[in-house]
Every structure is written in C-alpha cells, then in structure tokens.
C-alpha cells in the first residue's frame, strides 16, 4: 500500500528563520554603500545598541523581570539566580 505523504505547514519560527537567511544572502550580494558615503553611518548616534554599559543595565532589568530573556547575542538566564 502506498504511503500517503502528509504535508506539514512550517511553523512561524521556521518562516522567520528562512526570511532572515534569505535576506542575509540577498543583501550581501553586492556593495550598496561605497566607503566615501558612510559619514553618517560612522556617527556614534548610529550605534545600534547605544551606550554599552547602559544597555547592559537595561538588559539585566528586562531579563530578570520577564521570562523572555536571551537571544540578543547574549545568554538568557545565568547569574543573579534568575530564571
């Protein structure tokens, strides 16, 4: 008897991961901004995380009071007796 294939719908997580990977591959294929046009991008105000010490303090505040910690290039839990 021939086995019927069941088609599973990809989860939201799988879709987001695929979108991230495709975006990275497409975006990395060509040089978009030449070196001599990056004056604004080099400004400290364009730092994605801002002040590192302040960001670390905020991260500690959020991860110790919310269950959704970790994943932003920083481990979840660990230290502080936090879950």
């Amino acid at each position: 008897m021939k086995r019927a294939w069941t088609r599973r719908r990809p989860s939201t997580l799988t879709r987001l991961l695929t979108a991230l990977l495709v975006t990275a591959l497409l975006a990395g294929g060509c040089a978009l901004v030449p070196q001599n046009r990056r004056k604004h991008l080099a400004d400290p105000m364009m730092s994605p995380d801002g002040d590192l010490l302040l960001t670390a303090g905020r991260r500690k505040l959020y991860t110790s009071r919310e269950s959704a910690g970790g994943g932003d290039a920083a481990p979840a839990g660990g230290g502080c007796g936090c879950q």
Binding site: L20, M45, L54, G57, L61, S67, G79
Partner: protein
C-alpha cells in the same frame, strides 16, 4: 661566477690555509666572521581608548504570588532597590588586539538568603534576623578580547565571573565576525557557556547543599548597510538550559492556606529572533526601531518592540526611548495549587502573562579636551518600567567617561 671559481679551487686543493700547505700561495684574505645584525623588537603599543564610570539606581515595588512577604493566598511584596556602580575600560594592544573589561557591583536589598552558611551542616537555618540577609552584594567581571585576524575577519573570546551571596557563576564564550562586499555586510556568530553553582534553600530557610544550572547559547546575526543613512540588523539566538532552573526559595500559594515549593522542569529551550533598523535623520538625529520575537519550551511566547530617537544640539545629545513588551504565561503558571499536586507549578509573576511599558529620557554632553581628539562626556538617563501585573521599576543612571 666568482663563488663557483673559488669553490672549484677549494675542491682541487688550490685554496686552503697556508699552514696546511707549508707555503703561502694564493693567500686570499679570510672573510670576516659573520656578525648578526641587531634586531630591535618593539612591544606592541598599549593604548587606552575609553574609560567609563557609570552608577545606576533601581527602585522596584509591586506584588507577586511567588513572594511569601504577604498573605498566604495572596501576592507578596516585591519591594527591592539596587545600587549598581559599573566600570568599563577599552584598550588596544598593537594593531590587532582589542581588550574590553567591564566590572560591576550590585548592592541589592531583600535579595536572597545569606551565603555565610557555606561550610555549615546541611539543614542549618538561614539567618533571617540580622541585617546581612537583608542586603546582598553581587560582583561581576566581564572580559572580551577581539583579534583582527584579517581585514575582514575578527575573532574573539569572552570570559566572565559572577559572585553573589548564594551563587557563583562562570561564563566562557567565543565569537567571530566576517565582513563581505566591502564591509556592507557583516555576519556574526557567537557561542557562550555558563555554569551557575548556588545554594539550595527550602522555604523555611534550611540549606540542602549545592545545585547546578548550565546555560548554552548560540547566536547568528547579520548587519547590512542599506543606504548611506540606513543600517539593518537581524539575529537569531538559541539557548538551552539544564539543571535546577528555579532559585529554590520561590513559593506557590496552596488551596489549604499554606505555601508550597515551586516545581519547574529541569530543561528549557529558548528561541529569539530580532530585527533592528537604524536611520540617520537629516537634522542631526537618528532613529532606532527594533522588534523581537521569543518562544520557549515552557510555553511562553513574547513580542517586544522598541523605539529610540536621538537628537544632537551642539555638544548635547538628547535621547527619548519607548518599549512595549507582551508575553504569555508559561504552561504551568497559576496563583493557587492543589496541596497534593506533584506536577510542575509556579506562581512567579515574571513567568505570568503580562504587558510591560517603558519610557526613557537621557542627555549626554561631549566636551573635547586637548588637540588629539580626546574628549570627556557626562550622561544622565532616567527610565520608568511598568508591568500590567502590578510591578514597576524606576531607574536613574549617570555616567562619566573619557575616550579618544
């Protein structure tokens, strides 16, 4: 040509020490002994790039069902304050090596039992009467070393150590970045491993020895320059934890009017995907927008959005920020449980369903000094964080720094 002639003469015996031959013959002058050229090796230049000092004060108040500081069947107090001085030093060693060291100290009120029971017999009641158990100090040091492998590849190592009264924690990690397309695209990957070692107390304050928790975290990220004024970032992080994942003294209300121990699984897997856009604004400003999706194996799903607006006015930079967070409860959350139940249970308000709002405002003053591009800066930031399940935190943070 000359060398080959001399060699041939030596082989044939025409050239040699005169004493060996008894008579001066051709008598070519002996070459001077070789003298090694002195090689002067300079140590790589050690240069401090940044020194920053920051002091932050957190003031938290609210109620949570995991706290026993209240009625048996109702939420207890989560009142606490934290004073946190921090220090950051960034230095370069030569052209390729960059070292970043951060130290921080947390002085926490109403934090946790007293660690001075270490070494005493198991079952010794915790000191809940005198002041040491009402004030807790935690110290942490973080070190990041980055090596520029080539113009496009950076690799690095991370190490940290955390010490507080009932807990010690060790962390190790490695990270790497690779730039493509004339630095328009940067891919990043990192791996961290943390081991926590802490005291196991029951609800009455008796100590049952030591527990262990391990955390493994891997991250992948990409940064892309989209236009001369736009940067986008995306990242995925996976974290798996094992061991004792409760702090051991959280309690749950029981239907018979008493309190029981929190029981949670010994494994937890977390996934987080985040995206961020940074846009330069033509009036000397910038806008940061971020979104983060989170899901874990305990059943909690969360969405977080944040926005930050910066505006420069001369040497002054002003910041306004807002953040919204919404999460669902873990599968085994509740506010009252069956006393005979043995399944997973928690009443921890951090694991409940709630929304949280935060607004912040800050200012920074940059003051150039000297003629070498050095500057000092002063910064002040305030934030109010409010959770829908009865918790708020105010914090004020001030910083003083020097950089070049």
């Amino acid at each position: 040509m000359r060398l080959s002639v001399v060699a041939a003469a030596a082989v044939l015996g025409f050239v040699g020490p005169p004493a060996a031959r008894g008579a001066p013959m051709i008598a070519a002058p002996a070459p001077p002994p070789p003298i090694d050229e002195p090689v002067i090796v300079h140590a790589p230049a050690y240069q401090i790039q940044l020194i920053a000092l920051r002091f932050t004060y957190f003031d938290q108040d609210g109620l949570g069902y995991q706290s026993a500081a209240g009625p048996a069947l109702g939420p207890g107090s989560e009142r606490t304050t934290v004073a946190e001085p921090q220090n950051e030093v960034v230095a370069t060693i030569g052209d390729r090596l960059t070292e970043r060291i951060v130290t921080s100290v947390d002085v926490v009120t109403a934090a946790s039992p007293n660690h001075k029971l270490y070494g005493l017999p198991v079952g010794t009641p915790v000191d809940t009467i005198s002041s040491p158990s009402r004030i807790n100090e935690a110290e942490q040091i973080d070190s990041d070393t980055t090596y520029a492998w080539s113009r496009t590849i950076n690799v690095g190592l991370h190490a940290d150590y955390h010490l507080e009264e009932p807990l010690e924690s060790w962390g190790l990690g490695m990270f790497a970045t690779r730039a493509f397309a004339d630095d328009n695209t940067v891919l990043a990957a990192s791996l961290f491993q943390i081991v926590d070692w802490f005291d196991d107390f029951n609800l009455d304050g008796k100590r049952y020895g030591r527990d262990v928790r391990t955390t493994t975290n891997i991250n992948l990220g990409v940064t892309q320059l989209l236009t001369p004024t736009t940067i986008v970032l995306g990242s995925y992080g996976f974290t798996t934890q094992g061991g004792t994942l409760t702090n051991t003294w959280n309690s749950v209300p029981l239907a018979d009017g008493t309190r029981g121990t929190e029981i949670v699984p010994r494994r937890r897997d977390r996934h987080a995907i985040s995206g961020r856009l940074v846009e330069w604004l033509p009036w000397q400003g910038s806008l940061r927008l971020g979104y983060r999706f989170y899901a874990d194996s305990w059943g909690s799903v969360a969405h977080t959005v944040d926005a930050n607006l910066s505006q420069r006015v001369g040497r002054l930079t002003l910041d306004l920020g807002a953040r919204y967070h919404r999460q669902s409860a873990v599968d085994f959350f509740g506010t009252v449980f069956d006393p005979a139940g043995t399944g997973f249970r928690t009443a921890d308000s951090d694991l409940a369903a709630f929304t949280a709002h935060a607004v912040s405002a800050g200012a920074r003053w940059d003051q150039p000094i000297g003629h070498r591009g050095h500057q000092i800066y002063f910064a002040l930031t305030g934030e109010r964080y409010v959770r829908s399940n009865d918790l708020y935190v105010d914090f004020v943070s001030g910083a003083l720094g020097w950089q070049q």
